[in-house]
Amino acid sequence: MSTSTVTATAVHENLLEFLSKRAKSPWDPEQDLFASGSFSSLFALELVMHLESAFGIAIEAEDLRLEHFRTVGAMTELVLRIRGRGGE
C-alpha cells in the first residue's frame, strides 16, 4: 500500500481492522481510543509504527501528538496529509 494513491476509505478500513483485532471487538470509529479504556496511551507508539509501515510514511516529531491518534478520523487525516506533503 506504499505506492500509488491511498484513499481515506483505505486508511479508515485498515485502522478499523487493526483496532478491532487489538480490542477483540468491533471498533467504533467515533470512539476516543485513550478515553475508551480499551487502550493505554502507551499504545500510541504502536499506532505510529503501524501507520508508518502500512502506508509508507514517516511521522516526524512535530506530528507526535496524542490528539492525532485519538480517533480513526484523526489518524486518517494525518496519513493523508503526510502522504500529500511527501508525494508528487
Binding site: 496511551s41 499504545f43 500510541a44 507508539l45 504502536e46 509504527m49 516529531a61 512535530e62 507526535l64 501528538r65
Partner: protein, 288 residues
C-alpha cells in the same frame, strides 16, 4: 529546556528495559550518553529502542519535540569512561552481577565520578563494598519508564558522601526529575512495600479469590491507584519482580517476600509481562 547540558556526560551500563529507558530520558534532555551492554545483540538493538522510546515520550508530551537530542553511543565494552561525569548501573537485579560491574567501573573512572546503581532492592551499602570508593556510590531508583514518571527515589547509603549526593542532585535537576532522598535498606521505601503487595496480589489470584482484573480494579476504583498491582508487575517485568522478591527474602528472612508459585510459574513459562506480550494480562505487542 532546549539547551544541551555539556557539563554532564553519562555512561549507562546494561541496555535492558531500564538502561534504554534511562538513556532515552538523558538524550531527550540533551545529555550525551554512552550505553553499554556486554551482549552484542542487546547493544545492537539499543539505538532503535531509544529512538522509539524518545518518540513515545514526545507523543506523551513528556520530552521536548524540538531541540537536539544528546548524542547516543552504544557498545559492548565500558573501556572508555575517562571523561564521563556519572555512571548509572542498570544491569540485571542480581547482587553478584551488580557488584562485579560496579567494581570494574569504579576502577575505570576518575575518583569522585558519581556512581549510581539503579537497583530495585539491593542495599546500596552492600554494593558499596565492591567499589574502590564507597563514598562515590548512591542509589537512584528510576521508575519504568523514567521519561514518563518524573519522581525518583534516591538512596543515600551510610557511606555515601556529600559530594556524591550533590552531584546526583545536579544530574537529576538537568534531567528535570524530582528526587526524594531516603535511607538505605532492602527494597528502600517503594519496593519494600510494592514487591510484597505484588506477591500478595499474585497469591490471591493463585488462591482463586479474585481474577487479576478484579484485584487491579479494586486498587484503581477504591484506592485511587492509577495502575493496579498486577498491571504494575507486568510493566516492571515479572522476571525482575521475582529477582527483587528473592533479594528481599534473603535479606529480611521474611517469608512474605518469598515469590509465590503463580509468579515463578509465569517467569518459567517466559511470560514476563509487557515486554514479552503476556503476563497477568495480555499486552497487544511491545514497544521494543
Amino acid at each position: 529546556m532546549t539547551n544541551p547540558q555539556p557539563q554532564h556526560r553519562l555512561a549507562i551500563l546494561g541496555a535492558g528495559v531500564m538502561g534504554t529507558a534511562i538513556a532515552t530520558l538523558a538524550v531527550g534532555r540533551g545529555l550525551p550518553v554512552t550505553l553499554v551492554d556486554t551482549d552484542p545483540a542487546a547493544a545492537d538493538r539499543a539505538g532503535e529502542s531509544v529512538r522509539q522510546q524518545l518518540r513515545l515520550a514526545q507523543l506523551m508530551g513528556k520530552l521536548p519535540r524540538g531541540g537536539t537530542p544528546g548524542e547516543l553511543t552504544t557498545g559492548t565494552s565500558a573501556a572508555d569512561l575517562a571523561d564521563v561525569t556519572a555512571v548509572v548501573e542498570a544491569v540485571t537485579e542480581r547482587a553478584e552481577l551488580k557488584a562485579k560491574v560496579l567494581a570494574e567501573v569504579s576502577a575505570a573512572v576518575a575518583p569522585g565520578t558519581l556512581l549510581v546503581t539503579n537497583t530495585s532492592a539491593i542495599p546500596v551499602d552492600e554494593l558499596a563494598d565492591a567499589t574502590a570508593r564507597p563514598a562515590d556510590l548512591l542509589g537512584i531508583h528510576f521508575m519504568n519508564p523514567p521519561y514518563l514518571i518524573r519522581t525518583v527515589e534516591v538512596i543515600r547509603g551510610p557511606r555515601t558522601g556529600e559530594a556524591a549526593l550533590a552531584a546526583a542532585t545536579e544530574l537529576l535537576t538537568a534531567l528535570e526529575m524530582t528526587a526524594v532522598v531516603v535511607g538505605d535498606g532492602p527494597g528502600f521505601v517503594i519496593n519494600r512495600i510494592l514487591q510484597r503487595m505484588i506477591n500478595e496480589a499474585a497469591r490471591i489470584v493463585e488462591d482463586g479469590l479474585a481474577t487479576p482484573a478484579q484485584v487491579d480494579e479494586l486498587f484503581r476504583g477504591c484506592l485511587g491507584h492509577q495502575t493496579g498491582p498486577l498491571a504494575t508487575a507486568d510493566l516492571i517485568g515479572l522476571d525482575n519482580v521475582v529477582d527483587s522478591l528473592r533479594v528481599l527474602h534473603e535479606r529480611t528472612g521474611d517469608d512474605g517476600y518469598e515469590p509465590c508459585a503463580a509468579l515463578t510459574a509465569k517467569v518459567a513459562a517466559g511470560e514476563h509481562g509487557r515486554k514479552t506480550g503476556q503476563g497477568f494480562f495480555e499486552h497487544g505487542g511491545t514497544t521494543r
